[in-house]
Amino acid sequence: MLFGIIWGDYLDRSDIKVCVLRIEGTNNEEEMYNAFKRLGTSPEIVHLKELKDIFDYNCLMIPGGFSAGDYVRAGAIFASRIRAKMANELHKFIDEGWPVGGICNGFQVLVELGLLPGFKRMDYPNACLFLNNSARFECRPTLLKHESKGKCIFTRNIPKGEIMMVPSAHGEGKLLLPKEKDFDKLFENDQVVFRYVDKKGEYAEYPWNPNDSAYNIAGICNEAGNVFGMMPHPERAYFDRNKNGISGMKIFESVLKYIEEK
């Protein structure tokens, strides 16, 4: 395929190993795998049971789906199994600057793990992706404005202020933090990566903001910028087939560029 030729040296790329982690009910792993594969890397779909050492990989991705049926709370069971298996290794992996990303259910897992917003090291959640205000699962296209000033390593190839059309599909995507101060901190730290907007680029209400997330927030990163989660699905908008401008591919390119330069 063309991408290896356009985007850097194919050989280096193929040395990059991406772990697409799954358990039962995870169901977006193939499109996540394809997103990295198309860019010339060596992704692997790994069942948590079979994961040997996270340090075998250069990047950890938690895909969407309904891990363990989303019983208890979306992402909670997957998070607690990850914690039981490798809490310390994962913190070390992140501290060493390796990228960790979560899309949709994966974002919910990272929040349940306490890694996002991750103001300080903790092993319990300090945020929640609550039930959408519409109280329903909703699958619809959403417009996202890129807000990161450069901290988030997953979006560095996307200019600030760009708008992308990315499909959303979730029932629990309304981001809330315990205190108003937490939001101030999120903005001050450049941790807000994507916000839902309307066609004019303005922060608008439902259905533009499909879950009524606070401040229209769709995706955030940690303080260091190497842990990132978002509700909408860039892997489903990988190709800009509908000519909406920025394609989902940019996200995967950004993180690969970071790994290559690391």
Binding site: E24, N27, F66, L143, K199, H233, R236, R241
Partner: protein, 769 residues
């Protein structure tokens, strides 16, 4: 017989009336003649049957399993159609059709009506579960789900609800939630379907489910054992008391007591068991470790063991105590016929067994060896070493066939003169807010239609938050190529009820033009025929006419039915459901980037109508709104359909068609309105004088084989259509923010798009919100 094993002999030496009573008492629903042939069979054997044996016959001989009423008719009119792209069709759980040189696609369509009427959430969810297994058991990865569903009116007052019947809104909410929770969790996009409301579905809701999958040709696997020595390996969910007598329940009319007597016939679904089960089955299959695979659906073990062994030319020996159970106190016959969900049966050679067990263990999916093939064509069942079942599979799998009496109910149709309504705006608004026209976004947006990242055209498409309904969905099933599967369903129950023959032919016409409207080439069909009690001659007459209509409509199309299902007995004390032959069509688009969508693209572009408009108002929405019961049902001509379609596909290739939408219920006016909804624009139509027709009739006629098309280059388009002798008419242009329809200076319709769009969007929400 040993009572230790809870197996009992059944004495069939009974007088006729007692014999029939017995059939009903033990819940197998066989007729007197059928009971008598069972009696004779065992008389020849010189013994009485065990309860498990007679239960097995009850399963195998049910209408649901052996199509005893419909098979003769289907053989004559449906199965005899052929198409070169078919790889193998009709004979197994799903049809297999060529996609390209390396891949085939697999499709299946069936009903889950009775379970959904009693327990809508579980019934609909397990419908999805079952159709997924039908596709997986051919070795295919499911890539799309399809859900045509039919209910009574949402605003039905509770006091008008027949006894023992659940309210349409209750059923509708439950069914949609069941489809949503199962489909979304298992991660297969629900991309197509339909929602219909009609009083005839009040006591017989219809829930059809379809699935399309993709398989490498070398990985196609059959539902049979391959050789002597094959081991039966049962995988997936455990077996419980849920789903006992499901097929018998599905083969009888619903009655007041169905709720209490048949609740246990509804299975319990678990998508989080199914999701890894699909992965494990496909992994084992792609590693060439399986000799055969079949899903456990209707009739449970009883059907699957006999059918797999029989199809391979062998028999089977099963150790029933090996089956993993959900609950302890199950009788052997209950284990044998249970229809518990999420189970598959594999035929595996001895040398591959360990590897297969390892794969399923890795995925945390239950796996257990329950039996083996034997040379003689018999099915033997043992329970802890004791033989409790011994029958030849020929007798078991050769259910009776009937030539049911056909009575054609004459339906007199006449074209009548009507008075021109004074306020067409009001009529159009009423049509747009009719629940059968109104936006189904309340339903569609609850289904994940973009999971797997391969949906190229979603069922609603337009301007981010404003959508036009699309005629088909498109899925790109193979990573490396841009070829897509185009998927659509069609059925207008009002029309089929008005005229079963032409209504059914119209469903073929509609599904064909739906595929063409997005740029697809229709490629194969599946049908799910939902009708009333076939033992009533007039019901069977409807069935007969409908199937003849399908035959007529398809015979020149060069495509055939590759999969199908018949659901009879959709009937209760207050009557039958409207005849409902649901049609699913899969088409091919060579490059998904060339798809055509239905929302208007650019102000100033021309709007064309392609096809011929006739005085055809029988069963139309227009006459329903006016309260008129007469009219001629729309006819269709397969040759015209093909010619028009080919011309449109050719112009689409040239890139001159910017948007396209088929004309169905509500005719031209509704189609154009729908095209504006997903755009920022309105439309101005100015009609010429039409022969034999007033303008209001023209804009609401439901004649077949017609499309509305947006064109940028008029001349090129017109030249091409003229050259191909395709009837067309330039009717107006995309303009402003209103829908204006005029004829020779006289205004028929003038409404702001925003007003129409709100009516259209809110009609279902107002009930459900």
């Amino acid at each position: 017989m040993s009572s230790k094993q809870n197996v009992f002999e059944v004495d069939l030496n009974l007088p006729d009336e007692k014999l029939l009573e017995l059939s009903q008492k033990i819940g197998i629903g066989l007729s007197l003649d059928e009971m008598k042939s069972v009696k004779n069979y065992f008389k020849e054997k010189g013994r009485s049957p065990t309860d498990i044996e007679i239960q097995a016959i009850g399963q195998a001989w049910s209408e649901h399993c052996c199509y005893k009423s419909s098979k003769n008719v289907l053989k004559k009119f449906i199965f005899n159609l052929e198409a070169p792209q078919n790889i193998f069709v009709i004979k197994e759980d799903a049809g297999v059709v060529e996609f390209d040189e390396n891949y085939a696609y697999v499709l299946a369509l069936e009903s889950h009506n009775h379970p959904s009427a009693v327990e809508p959430y579980g019934g609909a969810a397990t419908g999805i579960g079952g159709i997924l297994r039908d596709v997986v058991c051919m070795g295919a990865q499911p890539v799309a789900l399809i859900d045509p569903i039919f209910f009574g009116p949402l605003d039905l007052p509770y006091k008008q609800l027949p006894k023992g019947v659940k309210h349409p809104e209750f059923l509708f909410r439950g069914v949609v939630a069941g489809i949503r929770d199962y489909g979304n969790r298992v991660g297969i996009p629900t991309v197509s379907g339909s929602v219909y409301f009609h009083p005839g579905y009040t006591s017989n809701c219809i829930v059809n489910v379809g699935c399309v999958g993709i398989v490498k040709k070398e990985d196609i696997i059959h539902s049979r054992v391959k050789e002597l020595g094959d081991i039966f390996v049962m995988v997936g969910g455990k077996t419980g008391k849920d789903g006992i007598h499901g097929v018998n329940f599905a083969s009888a009319e619903l009655h007041e007591e169905s709720e209490t007597t048949s609740r246990s016939a509804v299975q319990v679904g678990d998508p989080i068991t199914k999701e890894p089960l699909i992965h494990a089955c496909l992994e084992a299959n792609s590693k060439k470790l399986l000799n055969g695979m079949k899903d456990l659906g209707g009739g449970g073990l009883s059907c699957v063991v006999g059918e797999m062994a029989h199809a391979g030319g062998f028999g089977a020996k099963v150790n029933l105590e090996k089956v993993l159970l959900k609950e302890k106190d199950m009788m052997p016959w209950e284990i044998w016929v249970s229809e518990s969900q999420e189970r598959m049966m594999l035929a595996v050679s001895e040398e591959n067994l360990k590897e297969v067990l390892d794969i399923f263990n890795k995925w945390d999916v239950n796996v257990v060896v329950i039996g083996e093939t034997i040379p003689e064509k018999r099915v033997l069942v043992y329970y802890e070493g004791e033989k409790i079942f011994d029958m030849d599979s020929n007798f078991l799998t050769s259910g009776p066939l009937y030539a049911r009496e056909v009575r054609i109910v004459e339906r007199i149709q006449k074209d009548i003169e009507t008075e021109k309504p004074t306020d067409i705006n009001k009529i159009l608004t009423k049509m747009i807010s009719d629940p059968n026209i109104a936006s189904k976004d309340w339903v569609i947006l609850q289904y994940d239609h973009t999971v797997r990242g391969s949906t190229s055209l979603t069922p609603l498409w337009g301007d981010v938050v404003n959508f036009s309904p699309q005629d088909s969905a498109i899925v790109k099933p193979v990573e490396d190529i841009n070829k897509g599967l185009v998927i659509s369903t069609a059925i207008n129950p009002f029309l089929v009820e008005y005229d079963p023959y032409w209504g059914s032919a119209s469903a073929i016409d509609e599904v064909f033009r739906n595929i063409v409207a997005v740029g697809g080439r229709p490629h194969t069909l599946a049908d799910c025929l939902n009708f009333g009690n076939p033992e009533k001659p007039e019901r069977f007459g409807d069935f007969y006419q409908s199937v003849m209509g399908l035959n007529y409509a398809t015979k020149d199309l060069k495509i055939s039915f590759s999969s199908g299902n018949v659901s009879l007995y959709n009937e209760s004390v207050i009557g039958s459901c409207p005849p409902t032959p649901t049609i699913l069509c899969v088409g091919i688009i060579d490059d998904i980037n060339k798809k055509i969508t239905s929302n208007f693209k650019k102000e100033g572009n021309s709007i064309y109508l392609v096809g011929k408009t006739e005085r055809e108002f029988g069963g139309s929405l227009y006459y329903r709104v006016l309260g008129i019961k007469d009219g001629i049902a729309p006819k269709m001509n397969p040759k015209n359909l093909v010619n028009y379609s080919n011309a449109l596909l050719e112009s689409m290739k040239d890139g001159i068609i910017k948007s396209c939408h088929d004309l169905s219920e509500g005719g031209l006016a509704v189609a154009v309105a729908e095209m504006t909804f997903g755009s920022d624009y309105g439309a101005e139509l100015d009609l010429p004088l039409i022969q034999d027709m007033r303008a209001d009739e023209f804009i609401f006629s439901e004649s077949n084989s017609r499309w509305v098309i947006e064109i940028e280059n008029d001349e090129k388009f017109e030249d091409f259509l003229k050259k191909n002798r395709i009837p067309f008419m330039r009717i107006g242009k995309i303009s402003g923010k209103d829908l204006k329809i005029t004829q020779k200076g006289e205004t028929l319709v003038d409404v702001p798009i925003e007003t129409l769009r709100n009516k259209w969007k809110n009609a279902i929400w107002n009930h459900m919100g």
